[in-house]
C-alpha cells in the first residue's frame, strides 16, 4: 500500500517536472529569442539588449523588483481566483483603483491611530474593491451581462471617479490633488535586505499571505473544491449541489477584496498618499491578468511570473542607455504568456494521451477496445 503511495508521489513529482517546469522554461527561452530576433531585425544593438536584460540587477533594482512583484502578484491572485472558475475579471484594474482611493482617504484621515490604522485601511480597501467587483458580478448573475464588458466600462468609470473624489475632497499639492498623507505613526517599517538599499515594503508580505491562503483555499477546502468544479464544468457543478450564480458572487467578491489590496504595499511603503497620475501606479490590473495566465493560476506560478515581469520591467529602464526602445520588453511579456500557454497545451495533450495509454496498458493487452473495459 504505502509502497504504491510512494510510487504515486514520485510519479507526480516527475509529472510536475515534465508537465509544468519544462514547458515554462521552454516558453521563456522562446520568448526571449523571439524578442531578440525583433531587436536584431530592426537593426538595434542586439548585444547591448541581451547584456542589459541578462545583467544581474543592482541591490536597489532588486528591491524594486521585489516590491513591484508583490503588487503584480496580488493583482494576479485577484485575476487567478476568477480564472479558476472560468470568470474573466478584467476589472481588477478598476477594483484596485477604487480600493487604493478609498484606502488612501481612510488612512489619511487618521481616524484610527497608529499601526491599527494599517489594518483598518486594508479592510476599507478590500471593501471598496468588493463593492466595485460586485457591480459586475450582480449584473452578470441577474442580467447575464458579460462580466468582461461591464468590467471594461467600470475600469474607465473607476479612474474618473477616483480623480473626481481626490479633486473634490483631497488637498492640493503642486499641480495635482492628493489624499491627506498617512500620519507617520501609521507608516510601517520595511524589511531590510541590503545595507545600501531601502527596505522591501512591509506590506509586500501581503502577496505571500494571499498566495498561501489562495493555495490552501483551492486545494484543501470544500469551497475551493466547489470553485474548481464550477470552473471545470458549470453543468456538473449545478447537478452536484453547487449554485454557480452564488459562486460567481462570492468569488468576484474575494477577487475584488484581493484587488483592493493591490496598491497597498506601495501606499504604505513609499507613496503615503494617493493622486492620479503622480501618486499612483496604474496598469497593475492588466499586468496581473497576464501574470495569472502565465503562472497557470497557481501560487508558485504566479509568484514566479510576477518576479519575471517585474524583473523584465526593471531591467528595461537601462535599455535606453544602450539605444534600445524599452517598450520591447512588453513584446517579451506578451510572447512569454502566449508561449507558456501553448507549451502547456501541448504538454496537456501529451499527458492525456499518456494517461489513456497507461489505463489501457495496466488493464489488459492493448488489442481490445475500451469496450471490454
Amino acid at each position: 500500500m504505502s509502497g504504491q503511495q510512494n510510487g504515486q508521489v514520485t510519479r507526480r513529482v516527475t509529472q510536475a517536472i515534465t508537465y509544468s517546469i519544462l514547458p515554462t522554461i521552454v516558453a521563456i527561452v522562446a520568448a526571449l529569442v523571439a524578442t531578440s530576433v525583433v531587436v536584431w531585425a530592426t537593426g538595434a544593438p542586439i548585444g547591448g539588449f541581451v547584456d542589459t536584460m541578462l545583467s544581474v540587477p543592482s541591490n536597489r533594482d532588486t528591491i524594486i523588483i521585489v516590491n513591484q512583484a508583490s503588487m503584480i502578484a496580488l493583482s494576479a491572485f485577484a485575476a487567478a481566483i476568477c480564472f479558476r472558475m472560468g470568470l474573466f475579471n478584467i476589472g481588477v484594474e478598476g477594483q484596485y483603483i477604487v480600493g487604493a482611493c478609498a484606502g488612501a482617504f481612510f488612512a489619511g484621515s487618521g481616524i484610527v491611530p497608529g499601526p491599527l490604522n494599517i489594518l483598518a485601511t486594508l479592510i476599507v480597501a478590500m471593501l471598496a474593491g468588493i463593492v466595485w467587483a460586485m457591480i459586475a458580478a450582480v449584473l452578470n448573475v441577474t442580467r447575464g451581462v458579460s462580466e468582461v464588458i461591464s468590467a471594461i466600462m467600470l475600469n474607465y468609470v473607476a479612474l474618473t471617479l477616483a480623480g473626481y473624489l481626490v479633486k473634490t475632497y483631497g488637498e492640493r499639492s503642486g499641480y495635482t490633488f492628493t489624499t491627506p498623507k498617512i500620519p507617520p505613526s501609521s507608516q510601517p517599517l520595511g524589511f531590510g535586505l541590503f545595507a545600501d538599499a531601502p527596505d522591501v515594503w512591509a506590506l509586500a508580505i501581503l502577496a505571500v499571505i494571499v498566495g498561501i491562503g489562495y493555495s490552501f483555499l483551492l486545494g484543501w477546502t470544500r469551497f475551493g473544491f466547489d470553485l474548481r468544479t464550477t470552473g471545470e464544468s458549470r453543468t456538473a457543478a449545478l447537478a452536484n449541489g453547487i449554485d454557480p450564480r452564488r459562486m460567481v458572487l462570492i468569488v468576484m467578491a474575494i477577487s475584488g477584496a484581493i484587488a483592493g489590496l493591490v496598491w497597498m504595499p506601495s501606499f504604505f511603503g513609499s507613496t503615503h498618499t494617493f493622486g492620479i497620475p503622480e501618486y499612483f501606479q496604474r496598469g497593475l490590473g492588466f499586468t496581473g491578468l497576464a501574470v495569472a495566465l502565465l503562472g497557470r493560476n497557481t501560487s508558485l506560478g504566479i509568484g514566479f511570473g510576477s518576479l519575471l515581469f517585474a524583473f523584465l520591467a526593471t531591467q528595461s529602464n537601462r535599455l535606453q542607455s544602450v539605444g534600445v526602445a524599452r517598450d520591447v520588453v512588453e513584446i517579451t511579456q506578451g510572447i512569454v504568456v502566449l508561449m507558456v500557454v501553448i507549451a502547456f497545451e501541448i504538454a496537456r495533450r501529451i499527458k492525456v494521451r499518456r494517461e489513456q495509454e497507461r489505463v489501457a496498458r495496466e488493464l489488459e493487452p492493448a488489442t481490445t477496445t475500451g469496450a471490454s473495459a
Binding site: Q4, Q8, R12, W220, T221, R222, F223, G224, F225, D226, R228, T229, E232, S233, T235, A236, L238, A239, N240, G241, I242, D243, V352, R353, R354, E355, Q356, E357, R358, V359, A360, R361, E362, L363, A366, T367, T368, T369, G370, A371, S372, A373
Partner: protein, 497 residues
C-alpha cells in the same frame, strides 16, 4: 454502389477501436452492422465517411481503391452519413443545415429551397425549410439529417444507431423510408444493437465485437440468440425484477408539480407521482417531453413554479440541490460527461463530487482526501471499475467505467431515493448487467427508484410501475407485466401511430 472494407485498423490512445475489420456492402440492400457499445461501429463508419483516417486497411468502392482525406471525398463518390449524435447547427435554419457544404449543387437560395421541398414531398417529411433547427424535435431532426444525405444524392447511406432515440412508431416510419431508398437502388448501412429491429429491416448482417468483425448472418435464418452470441459471446443480459419488494411507504411524492419557462412555455404541467420504498417507477416518454425538467425539479436544480415535492414526510420543494442530496437522494444524470463527472478531476476527487457535505469525504469546511481515496478504492472494488488507480482522471476511463463509478458513488451513504436517468446509455453489456444488478439490490434493501430511460426494454423489464410523460404531463399509467413496447410507444407519442 459496392463497397468493400478490408483489414481496417484504427487506434486511439490506449484503445484499438478497429482491427482486422472486413465488411462488404452490396448495392440496393440494407446492410446492418451490429455490435455492443464501444465495439467500434461508429469509428469504422467515421473511417468509411472520411472523418477519421484509418491506421491500416483499404477501402474499395466499385472495384476502385479509395483514400478519403476528408468527408468531402466520401461525399463526392456518393457516401452519406447520419451520425449517432446529430450533426446539426441549432441556430441555422433547416435549409441552411441542408445546403451547407453542398452549395455548388443549387446555391443557397430559392433553387435550393424548392429542391428541399421536393425531397420532403417525395419522402413525406413535413419540414419547413426556414424553421430554426433549434425548434425541432428529435424525430424531425433525424429527418433533417436524412434530408442532408439525400440532398447530396448519396447512393450509400450510413445511419449510426438511428433508432436509439425513436419510439416504435417513428422507427416504423423510418424503416418505410429506408425501404423506399433501397427500392430506388441506393444502399443503406444501418447500425444498431437492437436485434429485432435488425432482423426486421436488414438484408445482410455483419457483427462487430471488440473492434473487429466477428462474422456475418442471414436475417432470414438467424435468431436473436445467435446474434447475441456473436455480439458479446453470451446471452444478452435482459432486465427483469426478482420478487416483489414494493412497500406502501411513500418515499417520494410529487403533487401538482408545474414548471414554466422564462418564455412562458409549460415544461411540466400538474405532475402527480409517488415512489414507494422498494419500488422502481419507470418514466417513459419521447426525449424532450419534460423528463429532464422533472429530474431537475426534484433535484432542486430548478424551482417548480407550482406544486409540492415531499421526500419521506419532508417538504423539499424549495430545498437546494445540496440539501436534497443531503436528505439521501442519489442521482445518476442522463449525461455523464456534463453532469456526472468532472473529466479532468482524478477519481478520488470525483468521489467527493455531489457529496461535499458528507463526513466520509470532507471534514467540515475542509476536504478529507484520505477518506475520499479510501472510499473511491471501495467503489472501484465493489463496482468493478476498470482503472489503474484513484489518481487516474475520469477522462481516461471508458464511458462504461465512468458510469459504473457514478452508480457506485450515488449508491454510497445509503440513499433513500435514486434518480436514474438513462443509467446504462452508451455502456457495454458487462457494465449494463452490473448496473441493473446494483439497482435491483438497492431496491431490495428498500430503496425507491425513479427510472428514466429511452430503452423501452429496460423500462418494461426493470420497473414495478410505468408512467408515461407527454408534453410535460403524466398521460398514462401501465403495469409493465402487461404492456408491449408498441402500446407504450403509442402512449408516448400521444396515440399518433
Amino acid at each position: 454502389m459496392h463497397v468493400e472494407l478490408r483489414g481496417i485498423e484504427k487506434r486511439f490512445p490506449g484503445v484499438v477501436a478497429n482491427h482486422d475489420v472486413d465488411l462488404t456492402i452490396r448495392p440496393g440492400a440494407v446492410h446492418a452492422l451490429i455490435g455492443e457499445n464501444g465495439a467500434g461501429k461508429s469509428t469504422l463508419m467515421k473511417i468509411l465517411y472520411g472523418v477519421q483516417a484509418p491506421d491500416g486497411g483499404t477501402i474499395v468502392v466499385d472495384g476502385e481503391e479509395r483514400r478519403f482525406a476528408s468527408p468531402t471525398d466520401a461525399i463526392d463518390i456518393g457516401i452519406g452519413m447520419v451520425f449517432q449524435h446529430f450533426m446539426l447547427a441549432d441556430n441555422l435554419t433547416v435549409l441552411e443545415n441542408v445546403v451547407l457544404g453542398a452549395e455548388k449543387l443549387h446555391g443557397i437560395g430559392e433553387k435550393a429551397r424548392s429542391q428541399v421541398r421536393e425531397i420532403c414531398e417525395a419522402y413525406g417529411f413535413d419540414l419547413d425549410p426556414d424553421a430554426l433547427v433549434a425548434t425541432l424535435g428529435v424525430a424531425a431532426r433525424q429527418r433533417v439529417e436524412i434530408l442532408k444525405v439525400l440532398y447530396r444524392g448519396a447512393t450509400l447511406i450510413i445511419l449510426d444507431e438511428p433508432t436509439a432515440v425513436l419510439v416504435p412508431q417513428e422507427v416504423q416510419a423510418l424503416f418505410a423510408n429506408l425501404r423506399d431508398l433501397v427500392a430506388s437502388g441506393r444502399s443503406v448501412l444501418f447500425i444498431s444493437h437492437k436485434l429485432d429491429e435488425v432482423l426486421e429491416i436488414a438484408d445482410d448482417i455483419t457483427v462487430m465485437r471488440r473492434g473487429t468483425t466477428v462474422g456475418t448472418a442471414d436475417p432470414r435464418t438467424a435468431t436473436k440468440q445467435e446474434l447475441a452470441e456473436l455480439m458479446v459471446g453470451a446471452e444478452l443480459p435482459s432486465p427483469e425484477l426478482g420478487e416483489d419488494t414494493v412497500t406502501d411507504v411513500p418515499i417520494l411524492t410529487l403533487s401538482g408539480i408545474g414548471l414554466t419557462s422564462d418564455t412562458g412555455r409549460r415544461l411540466l404541467d400538474d405532475v402527480d407521482l409517488t415512489v414507494h420504498r422498494g419500488e422502481i417507477v419507470g418514466i417513459a416518454g419521447v426525449e424532450g417531453n419534460g423528463q429532464t425538467e422533472l429530474v431537475e425539479v426534484i433535484m432542486g436544480m430548478r424551482r417548480a413554479t407550482s406544486g409540492a415535492i415531499t421526500l419521506a414526510e419532508e417538504d423539499i420543494t424549495r430545498l437546494s440541490t445540496r440539501k436534497v442530496r443531503e436528505r439521501g437522494v442519489g442521482f445518476i444524470p442522463e449525461d455523464r460527461h456534463r453532469h456526472g463527472v468532472v473529466l479532468d478531476f482524478p477519481l478520488w476527487e470525483n468521489r467527493i463530487l455531489g457529496h461535499q457535505t458528507t463526513r466520509r469525504v470532507t471534514r467540515g469546511p475542509l476536504l478529507n482526501p484520505g477518506g475520499a481515496r479510501a472510499d473511491a478504492e471501495r467503489i472501484i472494488a465493489d463496482y468493478d471499475v476498470r482503472t489503474p488507480s484513484v489518481h487516474t482522471s475520469a477522462r481516461a476511463l471508458s464511458g462504461g467505467n465512468q458510469q459504473k463509478f457514478i452508480v457506485g458513488r450515488e449508491m454510497s451513504g445509503e440513499p433513500v431515493l435514486l434518480l436514474a436517468s438513462h443509467p446504462t446509455r452508451g455502456v457495454d453489456v458487462g457494465a449494463q448487467a452490473a448496473i441493473w444488478d446494483h439497482i435491483r439490490r438497492a431496491r431490495h434493501d428498500g430503496l425507491g427508484v425513479l427510472l428514466i430511460s429511452a430503452d423501452l426494454d429496460e423500462l418494461i423489464g426493470l420497473s414495478d410501475r410505468l408512467e408515461v410523460i407527454l408534453r410535460g404531463r403524466i398521460t398514462a399509467h401501465f403495469d409493465p407485466d402487461h404492456v408491449t413496447a408498441q402500446e407504450l410507444g403509442t402512449a408516448m407519442t400521444g396515440g399518433a401511430a
